[in-house]
Point group: C3
Amino acid sequence: MADPRFFRAAGPFTVAELAHLTGAEIGGAGQSGLSIGDVAPLDVAGSAHVTFLANPKYAAAFGASKAGAAFVHPDQAHKAPAGMTLLLTANPYIAFARAARRFYPAPRSPAGIAPSAVVDPTAVLGEGVAIAPHVVIGARVEIGAGTSIGANSVIGDGCIIGRDCLIEANVTVSHCLMGDRVTLYPGVRVGQDGFGFAMDPSGHVKIPQLGRVRIGDDVEIGANSTVDRGAGPDTVIGAGSMIDNLVQIAHNVVLGRGCVMVAQSGISGSSRLGDFVTVGGQAGITGHLSLGDGVRVGGQSGVTRDVPAGGAVGGSPAVPILQWHRQTAVLNRMTRKKDQ
Amino acid sequence: MADPRFFRAAGPFTVAELAHLTGAEIGGAGQSGLSIGDVAPLDVAGSAHVTFLANPKYAAAFGASKAGAAFVHPDQAHKAPAGMTLLLTANPYIAFARAARRFYPAPRSPAGIAPSAVVDPTAVLGEGVAIAPHVVIGARVEIGAGTSIGANSVIGDGCIIGRDCLIEANVTVSHCLMGDRVTLYPGVRVGQDGFGFAMDPSGHVKIPQLGRVRIGDDVEIGANSTVDRGAGPDTVIGAGSMIDNLVQIAHNVVLGRGCVMVAQSGISGSSRLGDFVTVGGQAGITGHLSLGDGVRVGGQSGVTRDVPAGGAVGGSPAVPILQWHRQTAVLNRMTRKKDQ
Amino acid sequence: MADPRFFRAAGPFTVAELAHLTGAEIGGAGQSGLSIGDVAPLDVAGSAHVTFLANPKYAAAFGASKAGAAFVHPDQAHKAPAGMTLLLTANPYIAFARAARRFYPAPRSPAGIAPSAVVDPTAVLGEGVAIAPHVVIGARVEIGAGTSIGANSVIGDGCIIGRDCLIEANVTVSHCLMGDRVTLYPGVRVGQDGFGFAMDPSGHVKIPQLGRVRIGDDVEIGANSTVDRGAGPDTVIGAGSMIDNLVQIAHNVVLGRGCVMVAQSGISGSSRLGDFVTVGGQAGITGHLSLGDGVRVGGQSGVTRDVPAGGAVGGSPAVPILQWHRQTAVLNRMTRKKDQ
């Protein structure tokens, strides 16, 4: 279904292959040998497509779908149209995501170094590394096998980049130790000086920023986001964290595993987030705070105090989310009254 | 008046030429042959300059101006000093803008491909296309006549770019179909993956993003702004929309014609804006919303519900603008009382 | 202490040299000839390190520190452990910052022009200028002695850049007059068109932006921040101002000396800040305002009115900071009551 100017589907794969890939059980019409050529939404899928039902509110569309196969929870299987082959799984959306990834794997550039790239002779590149035109690779840089560096990107002296990473175009990285399978989208800036200086009426005095940025495996950082290196300790992005576009991460910040930061959010210096913390769009977290595992920060909120594990906060300054809802309700009530 | 290091005025043009260009009628001293060498503000303009009066509060400065000619509404013409040639028009600011554009047209680079640019042999470039140094143009890209691509910019495989576009330096474009006369300012990122993944404690699973970005004619996108491509449907920027710096537009967002987004504002996935919607600075719009034609969103507000055509909202969460003004008034009253 | 992959300390320096550098007096054990090899925090410093005590709450760690030398206020000197050489000064943090800067001076690239750089023959480069690979320098550009331009950066026609500036990688500069010792971090955009157009239902009409950007000495601008050039007047960044990442500065804005703008804050067109104004993270200042010397703007606040010198404001819309604290207190009280 995707525009062939930009995308080419791998495959086809049989239902059996997709079941094996995702751990789903085959049910419904049970045609395990059915050849599937692409993924598609419920309403446009045809007999050679696989689709999914995750949200029960789309059950009617599911019942009317012409898809050859579908990922679906066993509890919803009875809503399938006759003749559809089912891929039964506890989490149809995750399974569909894995299947879609199989049809459309992350793009990979052909290995090799573009003639216009400038690679320091002391840099060490693993097997299958792809270096695009006009890239600059500094001294003593190490790049793991299968990693690709996009056009016009710049990797500073001494950086270590893991295997199968995708650094897109126009990215700048310095002072960084990066794990495997990391994706940096275009325009990301990693490793520059943190915002550290001693304020003084005769002229602010810059404090040398002597830490690094450590990025765990499977991290993604969105377009034009910025991650400053530590002032002495490191700035750390935990494995599997997903960072959206235009996000700011200041020096010494530590993100745990699997954190999610939505676009235009920011964290000030030295704050620490536990695992699986989610930060809404345009939210801000001031410096030197601690947010426990699983904390949820609402969009546009401003966190100025520690939040214990499992907490949810909203508003600016942020308060527990239920209290914040009451604040907005009270204000609405007071000001609606005035209309009468 | 502009610094000749950076700007060179075209012209001179006669008053008659400016009248013809803008549809204004000549009045006042009526010297249609007067040679005008530049545009200038009311207070510094001289006899070879054209100026304008748009806001009646500057009528005194208008009366004292030494400008040779001025765009002015017929109702204000009687405030002109003797000897000034008038260019009478219902919208003096628009007319002045068009005249200024005539003196200072958008810069255009000389046609040709810089030797250091890397252009895929399958790319098709129209007449007069200018490709600056270190640009990278991917496979099967099509670029319309008169378009200019700035230094170190990267255009990904398959993109189609219209005529007379201005892509400035250090820009990244991929998965994009672009109209004519589009301007992308430095550092813009268009077409990268949207922020789509299935959250899972064992590791978030990325959803392939299989849509495109479609940009209409006459769109401008400001420095370091980011526009993600669609997840399956396209992300769409309607013709004539003006987007400021550091703006985030997520996957599947649809902007109508003539929308205005001020700096650091953002729109989450799949929200749809009608025509001529204006979004204030640092405002945010959450996902899957619909904002009708002509909606106005106040600066820093956070829109969490649909807004019907013509509506105006403010605050976070956003409420109708009058209610929001009452909210701030009530809060001010309550807290001022406490001082007594 | 810093990772030698990325940092190499200058030195060693004697205590006497550090005292001379910072204006501190030698006290405590008084070993002016002691050789100091590095800076370090109180808890990890050893006998060849210099540390500091600025915040009295760390006095216990200071008393237990094994550092050979420490910057400290004379009033706190009695808390030092026996055997430590003291560097007595009224502002230990500033003194330590200067010492740290001596050990870790700003990085400087070797002079010379990379073969892949494209430098217009009319550009004038001072002594010791370093031009990295794939840089593009436009016509009539002037660059002062000792300045370094990072890889893939683009300097537009006519720009003047002072001495000992550090322009990092992937930066775009146009229409700019820059002082000495300015640092632009990766991805900064300076000098592009401001967001100026006449709104019109038949299509917004762009107003030519005919001003420049003037940047004073010792300014720093953070990664991916954007500074638009003036519309007619100039945009001005006063000497010694420190601007963090992802900050937006619109056309005609004037910052005084020593201003501080924290990440993701923004200023709309034509607003003027006095000297030493501080703007918190994600704060916004609307257009055409005047903020006096020393004004403090709280994080995420939205300034919509002038603020006199010395004022402090918070909230959106911003009010005097004490009133804002009362607003949040009142709201908290009203909504906590509801729990009972």
